[in-house]
Point group: C2
Amino acid sequence: MIIREGTDAVESGMVCPAPMLDEGHVLLAHGSGGTLTHRLIKQVLLPRFRNELLEPLHDGAVFFAAGRRFAFSTDSYVIDPIFFPGGDIGSLAVNGTVNDLAMCGADPLYLSAALIVEEGFPMAQLERIVESMERAAREAGVRIVTGDTKVVDRGKVDKIFINTSGIGLVDYGAEIDPRKARPGDKIILSGTMAEHGMAIMSVREGLEFDTELRSDTAPLNNLVAQMLRTSREIHVLRDPTRGGVATALNEIAESARLGIEIREESLPLSEPVQGACEILGFDPLYVANEGKLLAVVEAEHAEDVLRTMRRHPMGRDAAIIGEVVADHGGVVLMRTTIGSSRIVDMLSGEQLPRIC
Amino acid sequence: MIIREGTDAVESGMVCPAPMLDEGHVLLAHGSGGTLTHRLIKQVLLPRFRNELLEPLHDGAVFFAAGRRFAFSTDSYVIDPIFFPGGDIGSLAVNGTVNDLAMCGADPLYLSAALIVEEGFPMAQLERIVESMERAAREAGVRIVTGDTKVVDRGKVDKIFINTSGIGLVDYGAEIDPRKARPGDKIILSGTMAEHGMAIMSVREGLEFDTELRSDTAPLNNLVAQMLRTSREIHVLRDPTRGGVATALNEIAESARLGIEIREESLPLSEPVQGACEILGFDPLYVANEGKLLAVVEAEHAEDVLRTMRRHPMGRDAAIIGEVVADHGGVVLMRTTIGSSRIVDMLSGEQLPRIC
């Protein structure tokens, strides 16, 4: 693997130092998905919006209507660059909300698409993005049924931001909830880590590797459907996007008030991504994924679920990476390859702004 | 009425000339809600997203699930300034989506809130906006159940943009659809025009009038519920936001392939707003409203519906402003106070960027 062009890649790869807090202003790290995002949500948003549907801090809300359970989720996409190897802001926006619904155990049905476009944005790029959204929706089996377009004067938004919201039916009979992890449950990761983040990073820094780093953006709803047909004893599902696998595991540990132990050698990681992470100084545990999921599964069902996942194109490299433990509640520990243990914290600071 | 401070208000009040089309780029007018927005939707978005739910070009999509009809709507708010007399971007974002759902004949249930915030944005303003959203949600009787927060580096977004999406149950037994207008139907406007747009304009231009111009931002779902309990023969509902009453009427005429005739002297308009429009050179028919609706109602039911509306705080100044006619399909005609007729076109160009 060779870096053909390099700027100050290693420096930019460093996680920003724990931000010097001017608590009076919003910082980039408030959008990182890590510690400051959680603080913002808990201190500013939750106390005002408090209600029992919002409380679980899931990827979406689950509510009853007409005697059925629905999931409802929203996400804004502000990624830079808007086109990248493996996808673009359009496919990312569709897959992202499809996946958030799937993580609620829902079958995604309908999506909305709201575009905020900068004056002067090339129409051909807009068309390409819209086509990409439609293609992604078709692949995921959802329909984009309502939308909105705003145009903002030049310099007031960076090219294009897209919000997608989505509705799904929670119909598989499983009770997916981050609070439902139990000691002994196995933790499965559906495939190799850090591909989305490193693909974005390589484009931003103008790096070229022998093997192109491609985003893993993909819809996970079909994989989830297969998993839930295999076992209803899947307790938690989460897609490790902003903040990566480490942050998602911390969220699960915190919600369940239980500990998590993972084994370093079991973490699926492709060689090119591992190499890029080493060169750029990133810990793949903290780098965003857009086509991977974490599943917390009752121990006796874990091997069955794993087999199902490995038969699916989105889960070929799935692996059991650890388990839920009764000790050290809220803390994620990793047994390293050299046999020691280290605490895997939630992402603090901002690693990669505008990664999704 | 006195303008105490004035810049080049009259000039800025002019509608931009029909844009010199560089068809290869997105123009501000593509977000106006008028002609170019429609062209963008019809030429770029619809051909790709084509499906029967999106087709009616309603304020939201109506779909069946679990044997019931649901409405689903989305809107992004990019208004500048974010605080204005009568409201702020937070209350506007909640009321706007509540109203879009109400215009589908739905009872709004749940909202999502997705914030895109500029790095360095004052935390105190964020708290004020979030509180305003919560208050607006409480007033409308909806709950904000899921959300997302992104932070974008300084200069890549202007302060704060908010997307709200919403879900409602269509339960009143009426069939609201812009294609359902019939010749002879009466057109009711729920109150005085142009208040939101002129309030924003007065802040932007630093104008002060004797009577403060306040945005009319308000939830219309309760008014709609009362109306639909009075008559199921309400055929169309639409809130005349971007592009104003003129643009909304044109959309209805176009969808129904029928003509519309309105009478100038019947149009509700407050004296301060009329004065401000005259001074600044705005036609109130094209100025945005955020707490008003247009209803197309079966003639024999119109007086009943009107009475119901006038008893409601949001409909005190409601008036029958015209009717649907079989002639001049797709065209809106206005009988002026001096007895002549003029065509009321859809807004072309962009009158007030970032009005919502």
